[in-house]
Symmetry: C2
Subunit: 348 residues, 2 copies
């Protein structure tokens, strides 16, 4: 097979000159604006208002946010800085409820507090950078594992790319590796209402790397599958329960049902930091609901009449039984269930 | 059960003072503008650019367009007016390819030409008005037939209401009758990308009649079904083949697959003018593709990067096997197939 470049030109989250630098995803693709955040509160706001989004990217941003918080507390309270950290961690952790990577990253940072008493910024920055680097390395590993399962056209949903992670992407990492290996023809990107991550982010990101992408409405996915034009469905995840039930962007569950109806393999690519062993199954995953205005107006334009009642759940849960393949940085699981996921963690 | 009003306050198409009066559906719900069309060419344009949409409404508008055409040709050519009608009928018939009601209405009008030689406007207006009145009466009949099958919450797609028909609606006719009979709790309206018929038209239309409606994104339908919050899925149709395969707004097929997965009955409500006995099955139904810009911008706002490749098929076909109930003005069919549809027509 022909080898192509596995491009990876986008970084959504960076640590730069003592601050967190975020590519503002609310403004893409119209503008490539970067925010420079110098406080943990500003990082919390950026997670809440979706300037940064995507489960792994949220976790990394929060980890850097902890560095900022520790600096603030250290400046104020010296060696007692840890005493002031609890409310900061709570606020950061509550910024968005569904993606578990946020909590995971905060816990990983907290585990280093004891070592960091004297020089919190330096020590904690080391850990945050490690989280970031491990995420990228994990994505590349997942890309290589997943790519071997790909043939022909991939349909993807939302954005699980460089923009949603430390870099390279989860679902789009698999896409990038499959493209590099000549296994991929093209990507169908569902626009992903209401926030349009597919239209605004995935198409833009694939354009940066020269991977052919075709935008469709979310509702057009079924007819493409019916026509035999989709060979694989690949998405990311925001939280995976211990039994393999998978929360991801609202609409993922319907795609999984439709893919199964057509015998098209449904692949979830997510790092093990997305797996929440404390959640036994779907019922333990909190689903975020966002403002109805995300549905009733698009880019400031009203698309529904005044007084419209709207419901805006932004995640749904796909039962493990509909997930054909779970790709993590620790390995690939066919038909994930409690035992196989447990074994994955036991393997170290 | 408590009896409520079966409101029906909206008329999208009217004949008024020698012209066709259309409620401009491109501008709803922001503005209730009416167009007054005095030529068949203007009616063709209004169908093409979707000022009027919905299979039955298109047929009725085209029928009135034939009246205007006959008046024009009669003014120019006197008793030989029929000689000039062919290109007009062809242009009208080609305005949109999928909804067969357009062709059906034109053929019904043409069948009256021989009787209308001396006074085409008067005679043909009589036929067009009959088509219009029969459509409304058929919708009320379908409403009553379908309502008996409804319990609890209905999920509907696109707009198959008064706006899409002569009045009362097909799917929303069933909703209106079920609401009147106290069988309906509420309606979930999918927004229906890219044209937003659900958000802009269905929610607005149900608001006029005081029927409780909740707007959701198309991709949220599956999670509502998973949660047991949808008891019936009811849609209209743009063309039904002789075997029951049903073309409707893109996304309908996916909903039918998801409804079947959850054991939720999927009902199609459509007049027999939507059934195309000349189409044996799905393969014989032409699917319209519209401009990619309908996807890449919303209300003038760009939602995808420059240079985006997009596909915009605006209908899909649900195989008859996924249609649990077909409601027509001639009767209700469970599990429609070639024989049952054939028997429906034979019943007169």
């Amino acid at each position: 097979m022909n080898k192509r470049e596995a491009g990876d030109t986008v970084r959504a989250v960076m640590w730069e000159e003592g601050a967190v630098r975020l590519l503002d995803q609310r403004r893409l693709p119209g503008a490539e604006d970067y925010l420079r955040l110098r406080s943990a509160a500003a990082v919390g706001d950026a997670i809440r208002n979706m300037a940064v989004r995507g489960a792994p990217a949220i976790g990394i941003a929060a980890a850097y946010g902890v560095v900022l918080a520790a600096r603030e507390c250290h400046e104020r309270q010296g060696r007692d800085w840890r005493e002031a950290m609890d409310p900061v961690l709570q606020t950061l952790g509550a910024a968005r409820p569904t993606a578990v990577n946020l909590r995971w990253a905060l816990e990983r940072m907290r585990a280093r507090f004891a070592d960091a008493v004297d020089a919190p910024e330096t020590m904690l920055l080391e850990e945050a950078r490690l989280i970031h680097e491990q995420d990228i390395a994990g994505n590349r590993r997942m890309g290589d594992l997943g790519a071997g399962q790909i043939t022909g056209a991939v349909l993807t949903y939302c954005n699980a790319g460089s923009l949603a992670t430390g870099g390279y992407g989860t679902a789009l990492g698999v896409v990038r590796s499959a493209w590099r290996d000549g296994r991929l023809d093209q990507v169908f990107a569902c626009e992903t209402r209401p926030w349009m991550q597919g239209a605004r982010l995935t198409v833009w990101e694939l354009q940066q790397d020269g991977i052919p992408a075709t935008l469709i409405t979310d509702a057009a996915a079924a007819s493409l599958m019916q026509a035999g034009r989709v060979r694989n469905v690949v998405t990311g995840a925001d939280r995976i329960a211990a039994n393999g039930d998978t929360a991801n962007k609202i609409g993922t569950y319907g795609l999984a049902v439709i893919a199964r109806h057509h015998g098209i393999p449904f692949m979830v690519a997510a790092p093990t930091s997305t797996i929440d062993l404390a959640a036994a199954g779907a019922a333990d995953i909190p689903i975020e609901h966002r403002d109805a205005e995300e549905i009733t107006r698009v880019g400031g334009v009203e698309t529904a009449p005044a007084g419209t009642c709207a419901e805006n759940p932004v995640f749904d849960v796909t039962p493990a039984a509909l997930v054909d393949l779970l790709v993590t940085e620790k390995g690939l699981i066919r038909g994930p269930d409690r035992d196989k996921i447990s074994a994955l963690f036991a393997s170290g």
